[in-house]
Structures are given as C-alpha cells and as structure tokens.
Symmetry: none
Subunit: 401 residues, 2 copies
C-alpha cells in the first residue's frame, strides 16, 4: 500500500490497536504428522480470541524468502521490506541501544587475533568473554578522530557496535573483515566518491585501535563490516495517524520501533509480565502498542521446541490483561518463523490473528498454523496487515467519498 | 522474484530437487458433479506423497489466461512469462530440434496451395501428409541465399520450422500468411529499420520456393509467420546455483529447457519408463531434474479423458522410482491445464505438490484439483514455485543475516 494514498484516508479517532509480536512464532512439527510449537501449546485465551477473529498467515517478504528481524519487523509494521532496508550494522547499533541519526554511519565490529605478520589467525578472538571485551571497548573509547565522533558499544563476546558520527559521512564502504584466516584485514575502501571521508576515518580508527590493542591477547585487532546509514522511515504518526508506543526489551527491536516513529516505553525488568505491566501503565496515552516477545525466537533458534511451547503458553496466560483494557483491534503475529527443528529463521508463513468487533469472525477456535490456513485473511503479505488493522479501528475513510 | 535479488541469497549445497511436469495436468469433471481426470486416476503413490507435502494450485500467467507450452514452462521454471517471451516460430524451431543461437531468426512455415492468379486457396495444402512434405523440404534445402544460411525442418503434415542464420538479422517482420483464402500471400515487411535485411532474404527465399514448387499439387507455395529470435534467459546455474538436467522426449521441451541452461539428457526410447530410467542413471550428476510427461496433454487435447487418467496412473506407478533416489525436494505439477472435455489448453490453475522434509505438511492424502485447493501453497503464481523449492532445499540464505 502506498503511504501517500493511505494518508489521505486516515481519520483521527479514539480507537486503540495492540500488536503482539512473538518473534519467530511460526514453527514446524517435531515429527512427521505431529504438531507445531504453536499447535502444541495450550492456549485457551488465544483460542477463544481466535474464534472471534480473522485468521491468516503472513508472508514477510516473498515466497521462499527467509528474513532476519529487520525486514521481518518492517513488514509487519506495514513497510515494504523490499523498499526500506536496514543494514546489519545499523541493526547492531540499534541493538546496542544507540539512537541513530540520519547522518550516523554504523557498522558491526569484531575483536580478532592477528599473528606477528599481521594476518588474521582468529576472526573472533577466541570468542573472548563479554567482560574482557568491555575492558577493550573502554580503550577504544579513548581514540579521538578529527572530523567525527566515534561511538562503540559492546554487544556480546567479541562483537561490538561501531558508529561514526559527523558531517559528510556517506555509506558505501567495503568490509574490513576478510572472512577467512591467514590474510591481513582489508583496508576499508570507498565504493563511491562520497564515501572517501568515511573510509579515511574508519581506517585511521582501526589503525589506532591496532596500536592500543597490540600487546593484548587474544584480541589484538578489530574488524569492521556492514557499514550503513540508518534508513529514514515514514513514521507512524504521519502515515497512519497513530500515536504509537513500543514495548520491547532487546535494543534492536526498540531501535526499529523508534525508526517507525514509535515511542519506546520503559519496562521494569525483562520479563513478559513486566512488558504487559508497561502496556497497562501506558494504555491511556497511546493509540497503538507494539509489544515484542523475544523468547519465542530464542527458543526456536536454540532448537528448544518445548521451551518455545512454554513461552507461547506464558503469552497466552498474559493475554487477558491486554483484553481487560478493551482494545479495539488486536493483532497477534510474528516477524518470521523460527521452527525449533530447524534451529534458525525460516521462510514459512507466520500464523496471524486479527481481532476487532468488526472482523468477519472465522469461528475457528484455535490459533495455529493449520487453523490459520483456513482463516479469512488467507495468506497475505505481512505489510498488508496494518491497513486492515486501521480499517478495523475505523481509522480509514471511504475512498472517493 | 527478482533474479538479482535471489542470486545473492543462493548458498551452494548438495541437495537435489526433482520437478515432474505432467503437461496439461489440470482438468475438469466429465459430467456435472463428477471428478476431474486427476481426481479419477488411482494414484496411491501421489496420494501418499501428498499427505507429506504442501499442496496448491499454480497460475501460469494470470487470472483467466490460457497459456501455450512456452509461457507455461517458463513460468513453472521460475521465469516471469510476461517478461520473457518465446515466439511461436522459436518454439517450433526448438521443437524441430534446432539449437538456436541468439542471432538466429526463426519462423513457422506452412505449405499452402495458391490458384493460377496466385491467391491462396488452401492455407494448409490439404494437410499434405508428412512424407510428401519431407520430399518438398528436401527441395527447399537446395535454395541458397547470399548473406545467410537457411535451415528448414519438417514438423508434421504441412508444417515446418524455418531458421535464417546469419549476421544482422533482426526480428520485427510482418507475417506472410494472410490468414484467409482468396488473397495472395503478403510479402514480408520490416516493422523496424533493423529488420530490412531479414525481410529481403525471407521474401527472396519464398520467391525461390514458389519457383521450385510451382508444378506441385497441392503444395505449391510456402507461408512463413511468427518470426522471432530466441530470447536469452538467465540460466539455472547462475540464478539458482543449480546444475540442472532435463528429461524430455519432445524437441520443444528440450529446447525450452536448454534455454534455461539445463543439460538435456539422452533418453533411451520415448516411454515414461525410459524417462525415469534416465533420471536414475543421471541422479548423482545433477542438482535439479526436470522430467516432462507429454502424454497427459496429448490425451487432454484429443479429448481422451480415460487416456489422460491412464497416463496419470502410469506416472503414479513410476513415482516410487524417483522417491527411492531420496530427493530432498519434489515438485509435481503441470505447465497448464488441458481438460479433456475442452480438448485444448485452458486457463484453470494447475494442481501442484511440493514435498520436502521441511514443508508444513497439509496432511491431505490426495492429489487432485479440489484437494489442492485446501493446501497451504494456496493459489500461487507458477513462477513462485522455484523460490519455495530452493528454500526447502536449504539453498537460500537468510535475508539481512
């Protein structure tokens, strides 16, 4: 849906939309003929809601395409993920908690080990522990560059986020990481004329880092890759007329929500219960709530079928707290599938439920992959969910009225 | 799906994909309330495979559009048939066994009858028998042109394939065939400036042919139409990372497969059994196999409902030989529908089965038009099948990994 088209139809009103995204929700049966994680979970509240909802399966990007969290979230937020791209470096920086401006240049950083001849001998510096990394990060923060500010933040183990902030820093840089051992790190090259200033500064930073780390083991060098600037997304307030809030624990999801113009709400802890408490606390102040459940994907990615089932059951148990707020529209979906038997993201369409007083209820008293296949939403691009939600929230005027 | 996009996600691996195309597979019930050809056929092996597969219906081109074999095959091979076109002349030439280069100009040829005033009196020369045609083709082969080589090959009865091979032969020629009796053949005109050389040569050839055939009856002239050059398709090796093989008996299908970069395997005979034997013999040497079953379409086009049923049953009986090879992904589909009660190609979506260990099995133990309608593939563009097959073969990386 073209946002310029949609914007003209938006009518302000008081209705509220809640979107619960269980990360990696879609699954696969553990054994032939068996049930998926969602089908296995005992979800009396979701099942009861399903009976009053439209069900379907969302396709985040296109047939057969497995998406990462970035494009998966953009799609369910209503953006065409083929048009709006979030580079990996940007995602990492958002995940590390940076609030990126449009002029910031972000990258993924690794500590690595180089030998006496300067050749990479371990691209991950023996997966150095997070605490040791944190100490090295403090060293990196002492580096000063003429012409730009540098921000670095630990992510986990050998990984950190890198942000160059200043004037005239364009994207279009080659990677420093050679992706194999036995060769020296590649100097960063400008792939476009405008990126020359950034290339110069990045190489200078890496050289300074090498000096500061020279006597350290195993981490005695850094590798930077995935340079990109933050995309400028049209924001929820403007395109959907929604005052939107995000409830998430992990930085990456907060970051993507912020790009969409959502206000990230404080959560008192990292539990699902704390996220639902934040929802209740802020209910009166926003029109739209995105609540992110990371634990489903963690379980799926680590092959934890039973754990994923339990997380879904935990969400189900918390659902009445949302329903008690009397939302006008509820979406329950995922950003992609992460079947535990695959232990990774997958291409499978994502079970999706859309409740409002104005859907044609499918009367299917079950929320699961095969139940959703029979639902009236059909199999639809994930980006089409938001216009349907807005319609159900009575927030879209008639075309050609 | 954009091939440039897809190419970036391709990961090399050892998995194997087999695609069985029953030409004109889709059908219609013989009588109201009855079963289609596929629903009538006893197919215990396909039914058992269906239970472990995703089912759906493929739309070769668009709603209501009936396709010929060219666009039908392009679509199920993964090409957008609206973007890549194979002219009828090219298809005929491929069908006649010509290996066309990008500079060859192909056309359909007919022998016809003209009266004493040079007006067409029978556009098909009384459907002259193939043997008589073959003798006339030998005459046509004696014609020499300055500036290009001419290749002619009998197809059947009054029909032959015509190829002009040389430098600077561009497409964009009007048809010679007036499509009605009582008027003389039209001289070929260049519809674009670049096509003038070709027009000149084609008219010269037709004039020479007229002289050579002048005393013959009923075939005393030739008509040429459907001039086109061979499209250059992005090939399977490049766009899908697949070492692909084609098993087909009829030249047209071999030709289209060759355009897609598939290696056409020798088949010892023309039976289905011989095709499956070729599959077994070459199994270890390729990643992708296209196996074409022509007999279903022959039966459908000649109105042979029962014959089409029997051909489908024959394919079903051979299916265990494919499954014994332990393929990672199996697609069973058609290039279009050819219901026997219509006796021709039709616009109806085509029953399609996709098996792998990683589909969400629909648990529908039947392969038929109405069974497929309940399947999780839904009704999808035929060109979307290949990306889903690649995903199931674990040959596509995560987007934005």
């Amino acid at each position: 849906m073209d946002f310029e088209f949609l914007k003209k139809l938006i009518v302000p009103t008081e209705t509220k939309i809640a979107m619960i995204i269980m990360d990696g929700l879609g699954g696969l049966p553990r054994e032939p003929g068996g049930r998926t994680e969602l089908e296995t979970a005992r979800t009396p509240n979701l099942d009861a809601l399903a009976a009053r909802s439209s069900l379907g399966l969302t396709v985040p990007y296109g047939p057969g395409i497995t998406v990462g969290s970035g494009p998966g979230h953009l799609a369910i937020f209503g953006y065409d993920p083929a048009r709006y791209e979030i580079g990996r470096g940007v995602l990492e920086a958002l995940g590390a908690g940076f609030t990126l401006g449009p002029a910031d240049l972000a990258a993924r950083g690794n500590f690595c080990t180089v030998d006496a001849e300067g050749r990479v001998s371990d691209r991950r510096a023996g997966r150095i522990d997070t605490e040791s990394s944190r100490e090295l990060i403090a060293l990196l923060r002492t580096i000063r560059l003429d012409g730009a500010e540098v921000l670095v933040e630990i992510i986990k183990e050998h990984r950190f986020a890198f942000v160059l902030r200043g004037e005239g820093l364009e994207a279009g840089l080659s990677d420093m990481d050679p992706q194999k051992n036995g060769v020296p790190p590649n100097p960063v090259r400008a792939l476009r004329p405008g990126a020359q200033k950034a290339a110069l500064l990045v190489n200078r930073f890496a050289a300074e880092a090498g000096k500061l780390l020279a006597s350290r083991r195993p981490a005695n060098r850094i590798l930077l890759r995935g340079f990109d600037r933050c995309p400028v997304l049209p924001v929820y307030g403007e395109i959907f007329g929604l005052k939107a809030a995000a409830i998430a624990v992990n930085g990456m999801y907060k970051g993507v929500a912020r790009l969409a113009g959502m206000q990230v709400l404080p959560v008192d802890g990292v539990s699902l219960e704390a996220e639902f408490a934040a929802l209740e606390k802020n209910w009166k102040d926003f029109d739209f709530f995105y609540l992110h459940v990371k634990q489903t994907d963690n379980a799926g990615e680590s092959g934890g079928f039973d754990l994923k089932v339990r997380v879904i059951e935990e969400v189900d148990a918390l659902l009445p707290r949302l329903m008690a707020l009397d939302p006008d529209v509820v979406i329950v979906s995922g950003d992609h599938s992460s079947p535990a038997i695959l232990g990774t993201h997958s291409w499978h369409p994502v079970p999706t439920l859309l409740y409002s007083a104005y859907v044609r209820p499918d009367g299917i008293g079950e929320f699961g992959e095969r139940a959703c296949l029979k639902g009236s939403l059909g199999q639809l691009p994930a980006k089409d969910v938001m216009p349907i939600a807005l319609a159900n929230a009575r927030r879209l005027a008639k075309l050609n009225a």
